[in-house]
């Protein structure tokens, strides 16, 4: 079971959260070309290793959290607030 240490609520089970995918992509500005929106929605690195991803604490504080998690070990290294930029381990 993935356990996520919510910066607001403390250590909680994955069952309380809703996954929302890659947190490294940024929504383009209003005048950005369609290509940029395509990349925002579809272009994914899909790394085997550390992944920065959104988890929405839907049954808790209703906050979107930036979680740094390893896609092989499932280790959760950092849980940051939405506006923070967590450090991603090099490997």
């Amino acid at each position: 079971m993935i356990r996520i240490d919510c910066p607001w609520c403390g250590m909680r089970d994955e069952a309380e959260f809703t996954y929302r995918g890659d947190a490294t992509v940024t929504r383009p500005g209003a005048n950005a070309p369609e290509e940029a929106f395509h990349d925002f929605v579809y272009a994914r690195q899909n790394p085997r290793g550390w992944h920065v991803e959104w988890w929405y604490h839907s049954s808790g504080c209703r906050q979107f959290l930036k979680v740094v998690r390893h896609t092989m070990t499932h280790e959760v290294r950092t849980v940051a607030r939405a506006t923070e930029t967590p450090e991603v381990p090099s490997e």
């Binding site: 079971m1 993935i2 089970d13 994955e14 069952a15 996954y19 929302r20 995918g21 890659d22 290509e35 395509h38 929605v41 579809y42 272009a43 994914r44 690195q45 899909n46 085997r48 992944h51 991803e53 998690r69 896609t71 092989m72 070990t73 499932h74």
Partner: protein, 356 residues
């Protein structure tokens, strides 16, 4: 053919062995119907008993809206010459008395049956294909991991492997679960995420479930193997992973959906649990075709559907490689359809691979 480990131990060896062609969109159901027809003659083609068993695949529905969707799908199949029939509540009860038709949280209204659907013995499929390929002169090189794809001037020229370089003018990727990693070796980002799908088998019991049955009010499907084990599964764990293991929350959902659908499963026991890594695309349909790199082809993005696609996936992939152009069966399954917006979204869940 290069394989990083032994053959048949990736997704081939860790699926729940269902074959069917009951897809909604013509681009999908024509493809899967071609696959199903290949399944029907596969054992004689390969001279290997893959235990293809057309015991019927039925998807239950529990609401008027779901019924309408099932009718739409079944009619789409029938108009394309694919078998489908609508079963009402009483027919479901007669087909499988174990199903709690009336008393559940979401009573069963009926089901969409494809009688030609069924199961096949997954290991035997891998072994049978391997033997047939070998007899046709294919070199199957196991324990040979591709570590790089050499691209020059926008075209592939070969691969680097753990056992040395190999030159090739055309390279086909058939590495579902790891497509992103391989494609990135050629400098290509693909609209795919890797997710784990768990599956389970129960202790063996005397024949109990004849068909492949899919619950419509939760993530659960079940069939029974010839050995007696109930083979079952549900939905994704729902987060990116390359690890072939899942976690308990999904186990809980799948198992409770199982008892909700068939209360008498309650006293049986699960024996084994495993997970396979799925290439999940952003519209839930697969990709077979050319890539922006000359000579690089892929069959990928199988979501949950790879096993049943096996014969047609290989067939279309081979066609595309040989002709350097897609067959009509896979011309819609392009890599660039996400740019053009010509999506093949059967369920309408949106561009969220973990929800597809």
């Amino acid at each position: 053919m290069l394989e990083k480990g032994p053959i048949g131990l990736g997704n081939t060896g860790r699926n729940t062995t269902i074959v069917r062609s009951n897809y909604l969109l013509p681009q999908n159901h024509h493809f899967y119907e071609h696959s199903l027809k290949l399944w029907e003659g596969l054992e004689q083609d390969l001279n290997y008993n893959a235990m293809v068993s057309q015991r019927g695949v039925v998807g239950l529905f529990h609401s008027e809206g779901a019924k309408n969707a099932a009718v739409r799908r079944g009619n789409a199949m029938r108009l394309s010459g694919i078998d489908a029939e609508l079963l009402d509540k009483e027919q479901i009860r007669a087909m499988c008395p174990l199903i709690d038709v009336d008393n559940g949280r979401f009573p069963v209204m009926g089901g969409l049956m494809q009688r030609r659907g069924g199961t096949a013995r997954h290991d035997a499929v891998a072994w049978g294909f391997a033997r047939a390929a070998d007899q046709r002169g294919v070199d199957i090189i196991q324990h040979c991991e591709v570590t790089g794809i050499d691209v020059e001037g926008g075209a592939v020229v070969g691969v680097q492997t753990t056992r040395g370089p190999i030159k090739a003018k055309k390279i086909g990727l058939a590495v579902a679960g790891n497509t992103s990693r391989l494609a990135q070796m050629a400098g290509l980002d693909v609209p795919i995420e890797s997710h784990v799908l768990q599956a389970f088998v129960s202790e063996g019991v005397k024949p109990l479930v004849d068909q492949v049955i899919t619950f419509g009010a939760g993530h659960f499907y079940i069939s029974q193997s010839d050995k007696g084990g109930l083979v079952f599964g549900g939905g994704l764990d729902g987060w990116n992973t390359y690890a072939q293991r899942g976690n308990l929350p999904v186990v809980e959902h799948v198992w409770s959906a199982g008892v909700a659908m068939m209360p008498s499963l309650s006293r049986l026991r699960g024996l084994r649990q495993w997970g396979g890594v799925m290439d999940m695309t952003f519209d839930g349909s697969h990709i077979i075709g050319k890539t922006p790199i000359q000579g690089l082809y892929m069959t990928a993005g199988w979501c949950y559907g790879g096993f049943k696609a096996t014969p047609a996936s290989g067939w279309c992939h081979a066609w595309t490689i040989a002709q350097d152009a897609p067959h009509t069966l896979n011309e819609a399954h392009t890599l660039d359809r996400f740019r053009t917006g010509r999506l093949l979204d059967e369920r309408g869940n949106g561009p969220f691979p973990w929800m597809q």
